[in-house]
Symmetry: D2
Subunit: 431 residues, 4 copies
């Protein structure tokens, strides 16, 4: 297995931090033991938890106003895979990559080979019918007025075919799921028939479901708004659930943490979808205003913890669902590799904290109506600094105790900046 | 039939406005004719559309901070019915009243007799397990920590029994539906198990459904928050739909216009519930911030129109559902009778405007992707001043051309203020 | 004066609609007369009200996900001016254009000459430091981490110089104001020092104010979020007011209708800024979710009316302020010319409706605490269909009774589509 | 000094926890020392930080739907003071109480004497013109349509007199500030003149400011909505700032954490008010939807931390302002004493975490545009479990290591429940 990070970097880095880390891990272990928890068992659980990184997340993101690229932007899927390998080498939380078609289109055999060489595998595939792809012979018709729900059956056919093609690529590289997010909707009341648009979406999705190989799942991803600003065809989890119900046993709902109305209690949506046996997976990120796509846990870390609290609480009910964990973020002002390493760690942090909750005790307090102690017990888990558990999980897997520091020490970014030509800062002119 | 409004009042009032009204109706008729619409047919449709008033809406509402009663507050259900009869006599849009138990508990035979005498009938019944009713022997246990979803089965039993009792009263007075809104939820993360609480709600509701007489429906009413401020068991339409699906063919979802997250596209929820064949009815009101319970159409009249646009658009699909139309408002600074008369008219206004849309033309524009003209056609219907149609519908039914003015001329409020003792302005001390 | 619209088009179009229009205008006049209002006087007032169009609004807008251009996109400022002349020729509400530098950079003399020939003039200038302009020798430093508030004084200098250059261009073409909107802010708590960033903004703005010619004003435009998603330096009207106060008598606040938090009462902000004598002007548009930049009046027409109600209510206090009226919209799914014609009309509609309010009567009802009648009087003005007044104002000024229909009849879009090469649908890849 | 908690309770409780606490404090001290921080110095700083409790917070709160009292509700201000003494005895964070007039009206000498005996003092006074107080001879006129901004000067006079009376009581008991929160606003567009209402508010406040004794401050407290649902006279910090500017050097702005629009960045408002030298103080609580008045730090603990981050960051600039720290919460489902003890601790927790930030390092990262490390350093402070510091600060001051557990062990609630008659669960009937 090749690695874009020189072997000695992590070793030297860890050696320099070892003493302090061991002291912290030991002291945390003692405190946890007092609560009846075994630090080593927790490290094992954390180590088994992974989250896929999005190929498109390795490039600098932007807004409709501008994009400000950094040095060493990956120029194609193979350079993106290199970057993903760096993330995994240091953070050890992200062995899988989620591809976006047509952005990442390439020979499947080469993709597979390159991923194998880097020790990566492929998670859910993402199709793209929210953009036109000028020059693509497979897309003669525009998605300006919709794709899977377009009024014109020819556009719907084209969009269905694109999704089927995405599945086929995924099949060839070992993926097992397709995530469908469409931008279909309308900007004006009256522009679109709210009911018929949804009918057409369902009809198109049925054809995609029919094309799914054995063992595959499809995730319908809802979003409140953007790019459409009056109505969106799949705008909320209720609509997503209706779709998954009609589409049958291979169809599930995907929860992106930034796709909800203001003030929404997202963890309760997670609980509802588990109960409906339709929770398919997550797009992790954080946000304050809209679909801000910020780094997971950066705006409201308690919310992220509460989502994981539901997942841990669900216990065996979740085993049947095996939700897919993916990151979906836009890294506008940071080095994307750093943000993805950190986000993997933040997601694991929320999981680790949720593991600390004494479920039996909590249930007892809930049943007694002891709101104060019940909430305190949950908060106590959240405010436990589990960093030593995360670091130990990384260390044992060959990763870095402090992966950001190790990454900076590695000189990777400077090296690829020298190899990859600079991209001009784009001034979109879209306001 | 007795009427609390002297017969001559409306007659004299209408006579004084007749000439102007006829001119306006005629001129509007000409403009509508140019668009291929028949004013008389529209008046007929409008006249057939009615909306139930809530018994509790006849008293002055308030907030947790204070309630400022007006003169002549009704002291019980029979005086409330008198006030409802005034609303109907003048506005002719509200022949039915929706009761709230135990607030309106009384001998069913007397209720029926009084309503008959006033020319009123009873719409959906409302149960109440969001409050404790001190001294009520049927409610020994507190709802502080929930009702239908309470952790304690004894509390759930009590809440179910209360709902069954409410159904029985409704049966005796000719109602055909039960609206269930519960305040169950939690104020702290951890206080309540989000999944088990919903399981218990479903289990309790199943027992209520079993108690429904033939031909009855039950409406589950969701609400984002308040009185619970962290989580609410039935918080959104997705949860309400899951409930209605599990509860079977008698269970439907009720949409209160003020119970949604900020920025929510309510008309699309209406469209989705029609498609799912689970739209049970509406609680009409308006709001800007939360469940403000303001007068229908007072904050965002275009939104109210768009809801009716979906209802008219649904056409025959809606005939099977026959959604219940009810007002649910809190009249804090107005004479409740005036607000309810006006709200009935505003709701009819939205309906009348929606009737003006040329559905075939709109569909054509939608299919062509002509966003601008499609939205303009819809807006043209909205900006048509249909007041003469509404006034004519009232007039033909024996109501007032300008019902607020006629009400003020009637002296009703002063008369009941003399009969009904003043209520002290309450300073709740709940902040 | 040259016009891109053939003279006979409007004439023929108006002739075909004349009879119906006159009947409608006459009948509305009668109804207004009954309320003591003179239709001709209203037409005059409406005709005097104009709103500037943004040069950038003539091209198809988009989102970070995609932009779907239409046929005949203008390739530069001169073609944009042609399109603006069409808007004015038909709608007669927009004799002025607002430029954006560097997008519209050109020889000022040529700009002036072309505008004169088309019968247009220039409204407020807009600077742009929210994007990098690759290849521009005046912008060697990146705005990735801010512009006027950047931690590095060299970047601030550069941004100040750009604003001064924008003023100079404006001076040469007859503009009298500069609008400053910056995207400065941060995506993470901690990334930026919230206080020092504002200090630096003020310091930079002081230098811009010093560069303002006699008689010029500068508008600070606040926005809650986007492109920054954790904090924004000038995020709300309170911050904008603090800035305008510190910057002195030439500095004012600009209100963009889509730049506020959810549920905000915008008309009250307008009232506050009038009282503070700091209302500089407006960017009109409409929105439901965020800075959606939809067509004015398309989402919440009542809100637009209420803004104008404050302007009319302010009366003479406003005369001193002379707020600038500009449109700022993103036309993603319509022909931009059509949207801008319509938006000008919608803005005038709101103004015309506000003129109908009997201010003395309203004040009396307010002072008596007659909430119901006060709100009804306001709503009565809003629901008056003033289209005949708007059409007559256009007609008398040489414009089209139905400008959208006349525009379509003119064949302008097809003509420019033949002249201007098609632009590829961009797939930004920024998600 | 009398104490409602038996002396031995805390002693015995602390003894039982001593060993573990000392181990935790020691181990935290070592980790902090590695970051250059001195645990003892931090304990001292934390110990000096206090937050006033609201007298009204000792009773169970509620909503417009219901209030569910617990056992042993305090019946008047003297029993409330007893409860406050318990909070302080155990938590040692709240030596001061904030009174609400007329709710807490009593002989000032008796109030002072009782507080002295309990070791308490009085923080800012709160007036109340958002309710009518039936039977109060000082309030013959209703506040239904406003108080300080009422259209009728007689009502304004009455409201001003009430505020002056509140100041006089405060003077007699050693308070130094008056907090003015009014519910004035409107429920309908048109009901109120947005500008004149604010003019009248300013005029009334000027008279209150004139009545302030030497050394006193007045805090204007803004709130977005509730009890008014269309407009609120003092709705946002911009309005509050305008008021404080006009009212002069004794007038400041109070920030209640729950009184903002959805998604608002509150810490930036704090930074702005510090810069404007107008930050008067805080009402601490937490909320997700509106003015939910939940326990501080229970919904979004990171947000609370970020507010304190601004306070610590402001450093000496804040010394001149000396903002008042008060809790304002509604305890609907918990024992109010427990919630207030916990909230005091949560507020101190946020303060303690903010003290951990290396300001020089952070500033350096900010100036370099190192968004990732800057945000990580801040997050590292937040995720440090400072509970041992808080416990040690309590312990050294004579309080309880685990104050909730000690409180439960004390039997205080059961004892007062036996003395104080049960209050009936109120069913407001306000919906």
């Amino acid at each position: 297995m090749t690695s874009p990070i020189e072997a000695g970097v992590i070793e030297r880095h860890n050696a320099s931090l070892r003493a302090d880390h061991e002291a912290d891990f030991h002291s945390l272990g003692e405190r946890l033991a007092r609560r009846g928890l075994d630090a080593d068992a927790l490290v094992d659980k954390v180590a088994r938890f992974t989250v896929a990184v999005p190929s498109w997340g390795t490039g600098t993101g932007g807004t409709r106003f501008a994009r400000f690229p950094g040095p060493g932007e990956p120029r194609g899927i193979f350079e993106k895979l290199d970057d993903c390998a760096v993330i995994q080498a240091l953070g050890r939380a992200s062995p899988a990559v989620s591809l976006h078609i047509p952005w990442d289109k390439a020979d499947p055999a080469e993709l597979k080979e390159r991923a194998d060489a880097l020790g990566l595998r492929f998670d859910a595939m993402n199709s793209n019918t929210f953009q036109d792809h000028p020059g693509d012979p497979n897309q003669p018709l525009s998605y300006k007025f919709g794709s899977l729900s377009h009024a014109d059956p020819a556009v719907r056919d084209q969009a269905v075919r694109h999704n089927v093609e995405t599945i086929r690529i995924g099949e060839a590289i070992g993926s097992r799921a397709l995530t469908v997010w469409i931008g279909d909707g309308s900007n004006f009341a009256g522009q679109s028939d709210l009911s018929r648009a949804f009918d057409r979406y369902i009809e198109s999705m049925k054809r995609i479901v029919e094309a799914l190989p054995e063992g595959w799942r499809v995730f319908s991803e809802h979003k409140m708004y953007e790019p459409a600003f009056y109505s969106t065809v799949v705008s909320d989890w209720g609509t997503s659930l209706m779709a998954a119900q009609e589409l049958g046993t291979k169809a599930f709902c995907l929860v992106d943490l930034g796709h909800h109305a203001p003030n929404t209690n997202i963890e309760q949506i997670v609980a509802r979808l588990i109960r409906a046996e339709k929770l398919g997976g997550f797009h992790f990120n954080d946000s304050r205003y809209g679909d801000d796509d910020l780094d997971a846990g950066s705006i409201d870390p308690f919310r992220l913890f509460l989502v994981f609290n539901e997942l841990v609480e669900a216990g065996e009910r979740l085993d049947r669902l095996e939700p897919a964990h993916m990151i979906d973020q836009s890294h506008n002002v940071t080095d994307p590799i750093e943000s993805l390493i950190r986000s993997g760690a933040e997601i694991r942090r929320a999981y680790a904290q949720a593991l600390l909750v004494d479920r039996a005790e909590l249930r007892g307090l809930q049943d007694e109506g002891d709101a104060l102690l019940a909430s305190d017990r949950l908060k106590a888990a959240f405010r436990t600094d589990v960093e030593p558990l995360l670091a130990e999980a990384r260390r044992r897997a060959g990763g870095a105790i402090d992966p950001i520091r190790a990454y900076r020490a590695s000189g990777y970014r400077a090296r690829v900046a020298a190899e990859r030509p600079a991209v001009a800062g784009s001034g979109g002119g879209i306001v």
